[in-house]
């Protein structure tokens, strides 16, 4: 879902840059107010963790494979603003080291996989754990919904940006992107459930960290 340069028009680039910069700036302020200095190294390492976790590919259909985005996972464990900062770091590094995603498209990528995915993941998790009970089952089910929804919504945002830029008609881009990522989302969801199950079994305290 990393959009390269050349796909988005200038209006989309400018808008998404402005929104993402605002979001990251606000996230930084939240972090400064609510978190101790301890969290800076920790969040840096969590960003490296998401980066490394994205290297694990899983099979989808046929010979294709997808990989974790991790925004929902980060949002569930550390809170949405922390997840936005972590994803922004991951995306900046991917852009500048691997050219995975463009420099002008960075704003859009942070918007989709940072802001949209983190907040969608966080609130879907909150909603499900509130609707069901906030016990082990509720948490696991909530994390699946959160992870699936975060991928799905991020892909819809991506399709809309491509459509606004005049690259592909919405009638084709939206079902293709959303349909494909609905499949990838299942993988993301199951992996996130697996992570949460392991963490709940071994270090339950980490699921009740302070979130921002």
């Amino acid at each position: 879902m990393h959009i390269p340069d050349g796909f988005l028009n200038i209006a989309t680039v400018a808008t998404t840059y402005a929104v993402s910069a605002g979001g990251v700036g606000f996230g930084l302020r939240q972090a400064r107010e609510k978190l101790a200095e301890k969290h800076v190294p920790l969040m840096g390492i969590m960003a490296a963790f998401i980066f490394a976790a994205q290297m694990l590919n899983f099979p989808i259909v046929g010979g294709t494979s997808g990989h974790l985005i991790g925004a929902a996972l980060a949002a569930i464990l550390l809170g949405p603003w922390a997840a936005v900062l972590i994803m922004a770091c991951v995306l900046i590094a991917q852009c500048l080291i691997f050219q995975d995603g463009g420099l002008l498209a960075l704003g859009a990528n942070v918007f989709n996989m940072g802001l949209i995915a983190s907040f969608a993941g966080y609130y879907l998790y909150r909603l499900t754990t509130r609707l069901m009970r906030d016990d082990r089952r509720g948490k696991l089910f909530g994390s699946f919904i959160a992870a699936w929804g975060s991928v799905f919504l991020a892909s819809i945002a991506c399709a809309i940006e491509l459509w606004v830029s005049g690259i592909s008609p919405i009638k084709m881009a939206l079902p293709a992107m959303a349909g494909w990522h609905a499949l990838i989302g299942i993988g993301e969801g199951l992996i996130t459930v697996g992570v949460l199950r392991l963490v709940l079994a071994t270090r339950r305290d980490l699921v009740e960290l302070q979130r921002i």
């Binding site: 959009i3 390269p4 340069d5 050349g6 796909f7 028009n9 200038i10 930084l28 972090a31 200095e37 800076v40 190294p41 920790l42 969040m43 840096g44 390492i45 969590m46 960003a47 490296a48 963790f49 980066f51 490394a52 976790a53 290297m55 694990l56 899983f58 099979p59 974790l68 996972l73 900062l85 972590i86 922004a88 770091c89 991951v90 900046i92 590094a93 852009c95 500048l96 080291i97 050219q99 420099l103 002008l104 491509l162 005049g166 690259i167 592909s168 084709m172 881009a173 293709a176 993988g187 199951l190 992996i191 697996g194 992570v195 949460l196 199950r197 392991l198 963490v199 270090r203 980490l206």
Partner: protein, 255 residues
């Protein structure tokens, strides 16, 4: 340690490598911006942009084949998008083709060309930036360009531990593969879930240890560095030459 794919040629000593990271970030950004703004029909402009970026690649002593190979990472995304592009305005008759059962319109092809050439040229310049600049220096440059300090710190911590954690992932993958990573898809996903979970726990605990070690050495929320990159005359010459080439191509061809 098997991650030579990170920062592979960033310690060569060419003229371009020695430039201030700020110069490189700004010229790269300007280049991509101009490329993206160029109307697709001005193919001469794209040829000149390519000549410009190619001459900088030669100047940087990067192996051209490496740059070309790296630039192919855009292919999957381009393929995914281009499936639809030729079908984009099927109503237009002028200059449209019928290949087998597909009706490919002229404007669809134009959009395809527009995307591919711009994505590729931008990719080349990004590869040039990242292959000629060490990430730590790039971060210093970004900090001087007013990227928030906390963000820079997060990025530098992240970069420091990417190597450790990527090693961890490679070891885990090896362990998994040597125990036969087969079975049903749900089983595979469960295995990956456990791997990511373990990775999370190890990273988190490592983070706590790192913070403890830093506090023991007097960390108080700030990092200090001794050297910062300097903007030299060479930077000025390069920036002026590069940007004026860009502006020249932009103005003479677009207008």
């Amino acid at each position: 340690m098997r991650h030579s794919f990170l920062d592979r040629y960033s310690d060569l000593g060419s003229f371009i490598h020695k430039l201030d990271p700020r110069t490189k970030v700004i010229t790269t950004f300007a280049f991509i911006l101009v490329v993206v703004l160029t109307p697709p029909l001005r193919w001469q402009a794209f040829a000149l942009y390519f000549a410009l970026i190619a001459s900088v690649v030669l100047l940087s002593k990067l192996p051209p084949l490496y740059v070309l190979k790296r630039s192919l990472v855009i292919v999957p995304f381009v393929l995914f998008i281009t499936i639809f592009i030729p079908f984009l305005k099927p109503g237009e008759v002028a200059g449209s083709y019928n290949i087998w059962m597909w009706h490919i319109s002229h404007s669809g092809l134009l959009i395809l060309w527009n995307v591919v050439i711009k994505a590729w040229l931008s990719m080349l310049s990004l590869i040039l930036l990242s292959a000629t600049t060490k990430f730590a220096e790039l971060l210093k440059g970004l900090e001087q360009l007013r990227l928030p300090k906390v963000m820079v710190m997060l990025l530098s911590f992240m970069y420091r531990y990417i190597f450790v954690l990527v090693d961890e992932v490679i070891r885990m993958k090896q362990a998994r593969d040597s125990r036969s990573f087969g079975g049903k898809r749900t089983w595979q996903l469960k295995t990956i879930g456990n791997m990511v979970g373990t990775l999370f726990l190890r990273s988190y605990e490592r983070g706590e240890r790192v913070y403890g070690a830093m506090v023991a050495r007097g960390f108080e929320g700030q990092t200090r560095t001794l050297s910062s990159p300097h903007f030299r005359m060479a930077d000025l010459y390069f920036a002026v030459a590069f940007l004026s080439c860009l502006a020249l191509v932009g103005f003479t061809i677009i207008l």
